[in-house]
Amino acid sequence: MRVRALAKRIIQQFIHDKRSMALMFVAPILILTLLSLVFNSDPLEPKIGLVKMPDPVVQMLQKDKADISKFNSDNTAKLALEEGTIHAYLSFDNGSVVVHLEGSDPTVTQAVMSWIQESVKNRIQSAIGINIKTEFQHGSKSMNSFDSFGPVLVGFFAFFFVFLLAGVSFLRERTGGTLERLICSPMKLWEIVVGYVIGFGLFTLIQAAIISTFSVYVLDLMMEGSFFYVLLTTVLLSFTALTLGILLSAFANNELQMIQFIPIVIVPSVFFSGIFNLETMSSYISWIGAVTPLFYAAKAMRDVMIRGLGLGEISNNLLVLVGFSLIFMTLNIFALRKYRKG
């Protein structure tokens, strides 16, 4: 009954605090929409200049996806490159083809280089009459970077906002003196922790459902597996955020100090969650991922959304998340013990 009362109170507080509710439900949607617009844009079509190339070569290259323009001298091409009207130009120099790049924007450089690769591949194929085909075990050629890190982001936003709101909420309980009321009541310490988990749990469930539905059905994020597993993973991750937020709030004296945990705890866990490739990372720091809940959630999310795997394959990662929550909850009860002296 006391657990229910606490859960009910948290729900009431949420209902009265429309702004926090908006932060939890609307902010992730807004950011995910922006990210999808940024990363879903069409690939850059390189503008290539050709200097004194024979017409058959020009015609051949025009078959590949590029905006080709012809130049009569190196100097005019160079000028065009400086002005930014072309991304690169090709010229003959002592029997070899030289690619001239502006070079300050990696995206442009990459687009030009892959066009050249594609072009060379096509020449070889037509010269020797063998086709080179690419087969994808998971994903596809049309899969873009948003599809790749989208699943991680869906988990991250659930994690981030729940962490912040639960942490601040519990911090206020402490600084506002209401925690004293709980301590002076017959309420058991575990009831406080469980009450919080249930009260916030309802909102994390709604949040997870909104974020996942929106990402998959509106933003058209790649979705190979079951929607239910995405929801399950997100909710379990939210529970770790909730219990971790409450735990860390014990080490903050005000809201600002709670915000200070973002660069210390949240941002590093994003770096090591798998958004960036961990294999290229120095082994001195790559182990950090393995101690953050987001790392396991990201693996499970990608397994479901990109690889279409089921419960059997993701259960280990989910169990780790449950383990994190249980550990944080236990630590929370211990942290609360210092307040109750009798």
Binding site: M1, R2, R4, A5, L6, K8, R9, Q12, Q13, H16, D17, G176, G177, T178, E180, R181, L182, I183, C184, S185, P186, M187, Y339, R340, K341, G342
Partner: protein, 239 residues
């Protein structure tokens, strides 16, 4: 009447190097209003927190109905109003009271009745639907007092209950304290306001972690050989 309803023996407490309580001895009788009088920083709050599980003495014994405090066993018999108002800002007054009542396991049907009763005590029965954000300082203080009465505690511990409350309402609240007292409840109240201490049955003068005088306000005035409690405090404190 139980002359040692709450018994406090040789209590010491230090925070780091600072000794806050230094050998406190006092007895609170059942059914009286006991005032702990002292300047801020004298250790009043620290002492009453030991009765409510929030603080633990370094040495010495506190017993309440034969149970050593701090203890969770008798917590349901004790009502505590802290110095801070300790209310949920986002909730309405009624929702606050409903939550605090539920913490003490009061069934839903009875909660409605109790909320109405305690709200009436502090004259807030018409403001229960208001959010705490729209409450004045005095209203918050009164609601905080109402919250501590919800579970009909036998022992009521009030830490500076009438700070920020106007004289008319203060009078009303003290009338309520006397009604509660006549119902057999015991009240311990901390204050640094002299005229409030004069309304107590007995007071303990707390200064620098020690009880420097104890008795009814009249006894203390007589002992000090002065005409006002305020002067008595200065005379006895100077010893």
């Amino acid at each position: 009447m139980n002359l040692s309803y709450v018994s406090i023996r040789n209590i010491t407490k230090s925070f780091g190097a600072q000794k806050v309580l230094d050998g406190i001895n006092l007895d609170v009788r059942q059914g009286e209003i006991y005032g702990l009088l002292g300047p801020s920083g004298a250790g009043k709050t620290t002492l009453v927190k030991m009765l409510t599980n929030l603080e633990k003495q370094d040495s010495g014994d506190i017993t309440f109905e034969g149970i050593n405090l701090p203890s969770s066993k008798v917590i349901h018999k004790i009502g505590y109003m802290s110095q801070s108002d300790a209310l949920y800002q986002e909730l309405t007054a009624g929702e606050n009271l409903d939550f605090f009542a539920a913490l003490f396991g009061i069934p839903a049907a009875k909660r409605v009745i109790r909320i109405h009763e305690v709200a009436k005590v502090v004259n807030l029965q018409d403001h229960l639907k208001k959010s705490i954000q729209n409450y004045s300082g005095g209203m918050r203080r009164r609601l905080s007092l109402a919250a501590s009465l919800l579970h009909e505690p036998d022992l009521l511990i009030l830490d500076e209950p009438t700070v920020g409350i106007d004289p008319v309402l203060r009078q009303q609240i003290w009338t309520q304290f006397n009604i509660l007292k006549n119902q057999g409840k015991t009240i311990i109240v901390t204050t640094h306001v002299m005229d409030e201490a004069e309304k107590c049955d007995r007071v303990g003068l707390l200064r620098d972690g020690k009880i420097i005088a104890e008795g009814s306000p009249e006894e203390i005035i007589k002992e000090a050989g002065v005409s006002r409690l305020e002067d008595a405090f200065l005379v006895l404190g100077g010893k």
